[in-house]
Amino acid sequence: MTSLSVSTAISSGRVTLVNVRQRSLLTARLRVLWVVAGFVAVAFAALVRIGFIGLFEDAPASRSLSEALLPPRGEITDRNGVPLARAFPAYALWYNPHALDDGGAPLVNSPAQVARELVRIFPDMNVQVLTERLASGRAGYLRRRLLPEQANRVQAIGEIALEIPQETERFYPQGSMAAHVLGYVGADGHGKVGMEEVLDKRLSDPAHRGEPAALAIDMRVQGALEDELQKGMLATNAVGAAGIVLDVDTGEVLALASLPAFDPNKIDEAGAKNMFNRVTNQVYELGSTFKPLSIAAAMDAGVVTDLAKRYPANRPLEIGGFRIRDSHSLGASLNVPETLIHSSNIVTAQIADQLGGKALKRTMADLGMNERPYIELPARGFPIWPKGEWPRLRTMTVSYGHGIAVTPLHLASAYATLVNGGIWRPTTLHKVEPGHAPRGRRVFKASTSARMNQLLRMIVSYGTGRKADAQGFRVGGKTGSAEKPGVGGYRHHSLISTFASAFPMDRPRYVVVAMLDEPQGTAASSYQRTAAWNAAPIVGKVVPRIGPLLGVMPDDSRDIDLSDVKPLVHGGASE
């Protein structure tokens, strides 16, 4: 066609020119058409693509407001709503040498330069170590936690290999406080040790993790208890200490401390060693603190009807080749209040002998001493509980707290039963709404409980518990200093010093138990190892700190009525 047009153009001058013009116009139009068609095709393709994306592609992940605000793990609070454990998104610093993905060096700048920039943001890091780390080309964490502004500054360095992945941080604002109650969250995202483990399902369930889980713990009480226990432990060089504050009417644990503690924010080897819970997991022979329980059992059974009746106490009790003796001579004879005030093994053993092993065993079983303590925590120790029928000697030793080993929590629960009118209730770490306390079971008669309240108060007023007598708080309680069993018998210089108490005795509301593991005689304890000198003063300092917080105001004008038992005691009669 082109050759034809050329030939005609040559043959006829003017006509050919018109033809040429028309043809070039046609060509131009045709080309415009092609361009338009190209654009239309592109536009159509784009439309098809948009339609395809809109119809078949997944929508970009958008979370609703409530989802975005839902914490990655539920919060744990104390009974007043103070957060004890919370989770929030945090940033980590991860080194990814393959981020550039071009086969060359992992960093744009030299490792030394990047290291210097990083140290400018994190002054605690070492340039030398960091340079080697970056040069080595190994992927891994450079730092586990970054603050948001630090993350921004790391971003500003402009190295793609420095990644800032978002992670979930479980944080405990109170540090090591109540660590044994709370536990921690392991690397797998599941709770360990304490309530984190118990509530793991609830805390990670999207339906429930929005609202915080309230514990029975009162943070202020816990703080005061730990503070005083720590001081007492350091002052007496003890290897450990344990303490509980228990609501006697509901069984709620207001504070539970096992020292030395660990920091759930930083789990390391030293911390892992202290994860053992002395309050709920370790069983101890708690010694003389059992005497009020035995006397109460005897009173309940009608064996002790006359508090003025005197029992011989001047010579060790020999039974089956075993001698039960007192720490020092307490006089020729003692009545029941004097027995408790001076903590006589000989007289308690005689009363228990009259009561009989069967009745004592039943009372102890009713107090829950034959099973693991009732608490939600996973670590619960099984008591050393003599099985079968208790022979005479066993009955006698159990009456003053030997030959039976329980946790301090067992003891606190038993004391709550003793003072609250005789009702045993399971202890709990969950907050109990008013009026929803469990019914419990009756162990002692109300009259026995009332009498024991008087006797416990007398021990603190006139007896071994005098150092626990916080002014105006009407504290009552019993000391217990038991030798720890070792190879070949009891070790005379390793004691477990316990003070189990309740306050205010005119209407008992809280039980406080303080225990020291192997306290030493130091200047602070007047070179004594027994509970009267180390555990009792701790209670004497804890009670004034927690009393007003718990609604018990100190009052010098009130006390439990001791007028009918006071004359039975030497010190009491003279006052």
Binding site: G175, E226, G472, P544, P554, S557
Partner: protein, 172 residues
Amino acid sequence: MRPSARMRSIGWAAVLAVCIALFIGLTFQVNSVKSQVRLAERHIVALEREKMMLETEFETRASQQQLANWNTVEFGYRAPRADQFLENERELAGLGTPRAAGAPAPIRVASAEVPEDSGDSFPAMVSPLTGKAFAAEVDDAAEHAPAHSRETLSGRLTRGAARIVLRAETVE
């Protein structure tokens, strides 16, 4: 096709075009509002996180152990003693001493008889906790409490504090 029919079809086409234009405009409008909402939500989330972060930092810095350490080093506060509490008016009165011989006459204080129900006419002290008038709150509590229940001393003292005493009268 007649001209009127032609006009009608052009009219329909125009209406359709306008409708489509409006629909597209509306869609854009809706989408822009949606993205604004999403932006606001992201802002809310960021602020909530920042709030929680700051709150947690505050809790950490004011943790029980930290406060206890400060107290031992700086303040030395101790638990309140029994004589720092007053149980009732009798104890309060017990703090007073009898007038000594030759002591000046007691100071006259102003007092006004205020009817029980006209407490509203005075400017109400607003409780910072509930935002309600303080006097109203106290009176409410008094109304709901059973008549025989024992009111605490602090309650009784603050109840009186909401009223202003105007008329002068001799105490003796």
